[in-house]
């Protein structure tokens, strides 16, 4: 499993497509933060910073992990893999674990973009709990991805499935907000107030409290009266 993990890292280092998540994370983070800051809802900032990491975790698991068996087939190494005394599942899981590790980097990247680009820092109240939650999520995603690897190898058009399984899962998986925020979910549960992070008197999301210099005091645009980037620092 470790050998497969090392092999995947060596491959990914030389493949621009494998490192794509590192290039798209700043854009996703900027996009989500701009929406949040423009809406003037600093309590939702935590979702804006975490969502890019979750999105990239799913994307990488589906794209690189899910394709790992297919790639072996295209490279003509699948037969050798079957003939080897090592377990195929261990090899696939090792590769997928490396991919999950790569996705883990995007969480840190999003935090950096938020801090450097937008002056937004997340105060983490329960660091150990957060680290455990991220580790468990990475492990769970590695498992899911291993299952996908076995499934996608059956398809003639892997890309079609990979494409189709992105945004529907971002919604269902609650990458931004839990499914109660979808239109159907809101109507069932009594409207927008049921969404986490809505400005309520009860306070902030439980994963951590976003603290930002200049919180609540967005400088207004002269034309629209809406907040602008970068936010003012107090």
């Amino acid at each position: 499993m470790l050998a497969a993990c090392r092999l995947q890292y060596a491959e990914s280092r030389r493949q621009p497509a494998h490192l794509m998540a590192l290039a798209t994370t700043p854009l996703f983070t900027a996009m989500f933060l701009s929406i949040t800051l423009h809406a003037g809802d600093p309590r939702a900032v935590v979702y804006a910073v975490i969502a890019p990491g979750l999105i990239n975790l799913w994307f990488l698991s589906l794209d690189l992990g899910g394709e790992s068996v297919s790639r072996e087939r295209w490279q003509g190494t699948l037969e050798l893999l079957f003939a080897a005394p090592a377990s195929l599942a261990a090899v696939v899981f090792g590769r997928v674990l490396a991919v999950a590790g790569l996705a883990g980097l995007t969480f840190l990247e999003a935090l950096l973009v938020a801090r450097i680009g937008f002056g937004v820092t997340l105060e983490i109240r329960h660091g150990v709990l957060l680290a455990a939650a991220v580790a468990v999520t990475l492990f769970a995603m590695a498992g899911t991805s291993t299952a996908f690897a076995g499934l996608l190898v059956l398809s003639r058009e892997v890309l079609l499935f990979q494409n189709s399984l992105t945004y529907p899962f971002y919604i269902l998986g609650g990458c931004w907000c839990r499914s109660a925020c979808s239109p159907g979910g809101c109507s069932r549960s009594g409207g927008w107030s049921s969404c986490p992070g809505r400005p309520t008197s009860s306070g902030t999301p439980s994963t951590g409290r976003p603290s930002r210099d200049g919180r609540g005091g967005w400088p207004s645009s002269p034309s629209s009266g809406r907040p602008r980037w970068p936010p003012a620092r107090r």
Binding site: M31, T36, D41, P168, G197, S221, W229
Partner: protein
Amino acid sequence: MTAAVRVLSQSARLGIDDFRSVYTWRSWLAGWLLRMLAQVAFFGSIGLLVGSRAEIGYLLVGNAVVLVCLEATIVVISVSVERFQGTLPLFAASPASPMLVYLGRGLHWMGTGLATSAVTLTLLPPLFGLPLSPPRVAACLPVLLVIAVSSYCYGSFLASLVARFPQFNWLALNVGYLAIMTVAGVNVPVDFWPGPVQAVANLLPVTHGLLAVRRLLDGGGLAAAAPQVAAELLVGAGWLAASWLSYRRFFRRSRVTGSFDVG
């Protein structure tokens, strides 16, 4: 001129055949279209979390319209596939202009992008309690076509760069359209960003066309939208010129250096 049109249309037909080898009606509707609807719904749900009705409407319209751009820029992949298939030496030796072949290779993506965007603009806002008037949506279709053209020209420029480094195809496509989604007024108004970013946004496709669509949906007439449509066309013409020059330079260098191999 007739020969150029013939080359373009043959190239476009090749692209359509490629597309049909991947998608059937069923897989396009249940796979691609559903995914695109989910993408816009995802951003709409962010609006539900953080915004007012106006905010939700802004996100839904912006993200529905940008789908045209997303699909038009897939020409990047079509061109890189051509490179991976090793057809460049044949193009270089043929009497037809290889630039025309590459420029026509993904024309079908404009058609599918238009369809996706129009369907999304019609179906999703009512689900979020913000129905749009069908005549107003219909009035936006010509503007969507203009956005499709300007985005395709932008995508062709990216494709001309990717023709040199095909291994960067997915990176160029994703970064290319995500940059537009970030700064071109899709999710927040362009004036949210600092001056230099606004300047870049004004040179990107979608920025002006989307503003025109918003004005039409707000009940503004043609006079309100026309300047932005003209600006969008101008931006598209600029990207077309850039891609033409870039392709010309690429083919010239390939002929001089003999570097026809992939990558």
